[in-house]
């Protein structure tokens, strides 16, 4: 319930800017917004394909069957980002979601109004991490965030890079992952996409995304994955080795017996 209220707050936060700057955003802003909130690259590519292949004008485009101005798409995407991604992460790290909203509010008043700040250029944390944040374990992330003063924590969480965000999402407990996946399903439907969850476990969240024609447009996990590009041939190798050895031994024994028979 709290989250829904925050979503509404987020809409209210961005709505005035959308009205005032209806033609300020471009299609590139839409792609950037999708990237900011952690949409899979396949979703972004699909948006590009849709933009190229369907009718569009200078201020808006179709995604699925819906037409919106670029600015409206950006708002819709950020609303999803704030509701389902940033808030879940903030709550997990013990930060009040309202502080994140306030932070965005402050930034949008003083900065570029069309989007939440994408990177921490203005909010360099006072504590330097020992290794890149996106390569930390969840415990290390928590320890690092806890080491920052509260204001910096808020700024840090609000300005995570897409890769940092994906790294957190991947490692979150299943409960939070499910919450985010449910958001992705809901958000996908607004873009005319059908999102299904293939796998949720301790290390991963794998999604399949289909367009309105049912065609698979992406099948990926959150963040970069090293693909399995080799087959485990252990059983095949051991099996075939046993077969060869058994056959050779059998043939040898039969041959030996035959020879003994011939000799008398």
């Amino acid at each position: 319930m709290k989250r829904r209220m925050l979503a509404a707050a987020a809409v209210i936060t961005f709505l005035p800017f959308g009205t005032l700057h209806a033609s300020a955003a471009s299609v590139e802003d839409v792609y950037q917004a999708m990237q900011d909130v952690g949409c899979t690259a396949g979703m972004i590519t699909d948006a590009k394909v849709q933009y190229e292949n369907t009718e569009h004008d200078n201020i808006g485009m179709y995604m699925g069957t819906e037409y919106h101005t670029f600015q409206e798409w950006v708002q819709l995407i950020h609303r999803y980002g704030i509701t389902y991604v940033v808030n879940v992460i903030a709550e997990f790290f013990g930060i009040d979601s309202q502080d994140i909203i306030d932070y965005y509010d402050l930034q949008t008043e003083s900065d570029n109004p069309s989007s939440p700040p994408a990177n921490s250029e203005t909010t360099e944390p006072s504590v330097t991490p020992e290794k890149p944040f996106d390569q930390m374990t969840l415990e290390e992330m928590r320890a690092y965030i806890d080491s920052l003063p509260y204001d910096e924590r808020v700024a840090f969480i609000a300005t995570l890079t897409p890769e940092q965000r994906r790294s957190i999402l991947k490692q979150l407990p299943n409960e939070q992952k499910t919450e985010i996946a449910a958001g992705m399903v809901d958000f996908g439907s607004q873009l005319g996409l059908s999102v299904s969850i293939d796998k949720i476990n301790a290390d991963d969240l794998q999604l399949s995304i289909r367009n309105q024609d049912g065609e698979l447009i992406d099948s990926s996990s959150l963040g970069f994955t090293v693909d399995a590009t080799g087959w485990d041939t252990t059983y095949l190798f051991l099996g075939s080795l046993c077969m060869i050895l058994t056959a050779c031994s059998g043939i040898y024994l039969l041959g030996k017996g035959q020879k003994e028979d011939t000799n008398g």
Partner: protein
């Protein structure tokens, strides 16, 4: 005087003949099968595939295609053409499952299709480009992988400065090998986004026993980017 053979010995000999009669065919069959499986393990499967197709009258099926996966295999020209080219140009974005490029590495006699997206069905058909990485021709680190048992069986033979060409419908892109890389399956440093334009190719370290944990590959830098149409 004729040599007398005890009855038990004659019986034993007859029994042994029966053993030879019954056991030789299955043992020879087992040996042949064992050798075939070994050959299958050690031979790049895509080289065996045409023979398997012939033996099974072209009915050798690949893995069933996932629901909704639209695999598009295209005939992409692999000549440089005589037309005008541009250093910056228009990219045609592929859809998931579309073969949108041909990868050629002459030094290791490798030519294979490149599909957009990675899953097991696509990996059976060619090399695959991660959807998390930029499209060929875009700035950034384009990551392509393939099975070591099939298309990237000889990837480890690539040497520094070897040339790799990616042909697409919208241009051809030449790279040269800059680094030979090896990394663990949990190590993503070579796959992450980069400000530099790079091409990263990787596959599993060949391994007969156990699940392969190590990956090997190459990082390449662009030599020429030729687009067929301007932006």
């Amino acid at each position: 005087m004729a040599k007398f053979k005890p009855k038990s010995k004659v019986k034993k000999k007859k029994k042994h003949r029966n053993l030879v009669y019954y056991f030789t065919p299955p043992l020879v069959l087992m040996l042949a099968l064992g050798i075939c499986i070994m050959a299958y393990i050690f031979t790049p499967v895509h080289m065996v595939q045409p023979f398997l197709n012939l033996i099974f009258l072209d009915n050798h099926k690949l893995t069933d295609v996932s629901d909704g996966l639209n695999i598009i295999e295209k005939d992409i020209k692999t000549d440089n053409g005589d037309g005008q080219t541009f250093s910056d140009g228009k990219i045609t974005y592929p859809t998931f499952g579309e073969q949108y490029a041909v990868l050629s590495a002459e030094s290791i006699q490798l030519t294979c299709g490149v599909f957009y997206g990675v899953n097991k069905e696509l990996l059976e058909r060619g090399a695959c480009q991660s959807t998390q990485s930029p499209i060929i021709g875009e700035a950034g680190n384009t990551v392509i992988d393939a099975h070591v048992n099939t298309y990237f069986a000889n990837l480890s033979d690539l040497k520094k400065d070897d040339e790799i060409i990616l042909y697409t419908d919208y241009g051809n892109f030449t790279y040269k090998v800059k680094n030979l890389i090896a990394f663990d399956k949990n190590d993503k440093r070579y796959l992450t986004a980069s400000d530099q334009t790079l091409l990263t190719l990787y596959t599993c370290q060949p391994q007969v026993i156990g699940s392969p944990n190590q990956r090997i590959g190459v990082q390449c830098e662009p030599v020429s980017m030729k687009f067929y149409a301007p932006n």
